[in-house]
Subunit: 337 residues, 2 copies
């Protein structure tokens, strides 16, 4: 996630930085454990894993786990293992996603599949996924294992669903939201839920944390999909237009296509469904998603989910951790735009 200068606070730190600061000791332990447990006698594994693990990701998902556990009054240390496990699941899905999408750039760096090839990326993804389950076993909670095994299955389902919507302008908003709920929001939800669960929180609080994570995850992906048409590559650290070039039908495209005149429809059909794409097509796509209000609408929808996320936190104790979770959600929708 990119810190948009405009939304930084007077102290120069973003709400995410503030949330990090509130669980700094725990997060340091998560980082230590990540580096320890990605180790292997097969040197290629830590080499490749480090490429992604140390590439400046914000560790947003483990952050949710740590914050949820502490907010629910947890005094133990098992949440650290869960945080590391969740970052491994996330890293494994990124490795596989980049192979599936043949992506060249992530967080401003060449992707692992570009540096080492597809084979090690697939297999190291499998390794990290296995390590994640070993960490969960160490944490010792069967309920948390259930939450995260289920979330992993839902993520994979979402990724397969997404394949169907590529090159397909018949994709509906409902289809799209189903994909986003599965491929992105499920892990946000499970991260928060796992933290509350390991803390032994009540069913009400566990549900509240899951709802927060689920809504935040949807908002996060909506903003990500809007950013793909924003033209701010340097700030984002990923390639603007990736989704467009891969002919993914995200909300900005669905809305823009819905509101398109005949000429614009012909453009979208050629660019997304029929091909080929030309050099100037991305600029034209950006023009259309702006002109039709598709980007504005995507942001409005993200704001709605952020509101839902914040509302979900009502039953949680009113303290600085809860405040930071609320600010983080509000910050996510404003990032880079």
């Amino acid at each position: 996630m990119i810190v948009a200068e405009a939304t930084k606070t007077a102290t120069g730190t973003s709400p995410i930085d503030q949330l990090h600061a509130l669980v700094a000791v725990d997060m340091e332990a998560v980082d230590g454990l990540i580096h320890e447990r990605m180790g292997s006698a097969v040197a290629l594994i830590p080499d490749l894993a480090r490429h992604l693990v140390d590439s400046g990701g914000k560790r947003l998902r483990p952050l949710l786990t740590l914050a949820a556990a502490r907010l629910c009054g947890y005094r133990g240390v098992e949440h650290v293992k869960l945080g590391a496990a969740i970052e491994f699941i996330h890293t494994a899905t990124l490795l596989h996603d980049d192979v599936v999408d043949a992506s060249a750039l992530r967080r401003g760096k060449s992707t692992a599949n570009m540096v080492w090839g597809n084979k090690p990326s697939i297999l190291v993804g499998d390794f990290l996924f296995s390590r994640a389950f070993q960490l969960m076993v160490d944490a010792g909670s069967m309920r948390v294992l259930d939450i995260l095994a289920s979330a992993s299955a839902v993520i994979a389902e979402g990724e397969v669903m997404q394949l169907k919507s590529a090159n397909n302008l018949a994709t509906t908003k409902a289809d799209y939201l189903q994909v986003v709920s599965a491929k992105t929001a499920a892990l946000f939800a499970a991260s928060a839920e796992a933290g509350a669960t390991i803390a032994g929180a009540s069913a009400e609080l566990i549900d509240a944390m899951r709802d927060y994570g689920q809504n935040l995850g949807i908002a996060f992906q909506l903003i990500d999909d809007a950013l793909d048409y924003s033209g701010r590559q340097a700030q984002m650290g990923k390639s603007v237009g990736d989704d467009f070039r891969e002919a993914k039908v995200t909300l900005p495209v669905i809305v823009a296509y819905e509101r398109a005149d005949d000429e614009a429809r012909r453009f979208w059909r050629r660019a997304i469904e029929v091909g080929p794409q030309h050099e100037a097509d991305l600029k034209r796509a950006i023009f259309y998603v702006e002109e039709t209000g598709a980007i504005r609408d995507t942001h409005a929808r993200a704001s709605h989910y952020v509101d839902e996320a914040c509302r979900a936190l009502a039953p949680l104790p009113d303290n600085e951790l809860r405040e930071a979770l609320i600010s983080t959600a509000e910050f996510c929708v404003g990032r880079g735009y």
Copy 2:
């Protein structure tokens, strides 16, 4: 696995069939559960999974789990979930292997990556892997989860190790055995160990079952690697020469290269390390592995591991299940040769 006619018993059934018959009710339950739990609202997932799950594999790994559990006196039903979970892990690794190796044929059928492409194969593999952990959670044994999560990590390590030995004639027998122990034997070992563990067997019996599985797994892979140079494609249901074409350095190649004269060494270096391979190269490679005794030695080594596997079973009750496990191990080394 292919039933070699010559080693069938007088009743026309192989030892594997006999082992199947001894746990027939349990195995039917495993099959039912496999088909139930590979289901998803995303139709492509069961379609693709079914392609592999119903392609005539012998379910050897779940068979070990079921037999181990019953041999250790288990009277419950949780081993069925573990059998299904283990078959899912195996299926997931096959899907990813076939993408990594760009394989075209498995068990006499087009591979999933050929039919549906690499993307769904990677993602459905991830889905089945997640489903495996859900099934293990349902089975409710943290010790078994530990065994299978660890085995999964070791398998992935073995697969990454194997990448290094491709195109590399400096691969030693020790390197090779390390890869085989990890990529193949670890799941055989874990399958047998999981069965004994869910049965609540003593540490001695659990260790015995794991040793049986580990040694059987090594023997199994040695025979598989010998078969790749056997020229009996129809019987095997896989493409003979796959390993050779992918320039994998398996034991037959290591031994043949070790014993090669200058001309044969030049051949191996071109065919395995430098390229290109020519049409007639596979025949020549088969000639060399036969002529140098590399195939015979590979079989001898497999027989050694089968002996170890059978010896490991000494502490187990002397009944028809143990007999069937011994016959199965002896049968594996004789298959298709």
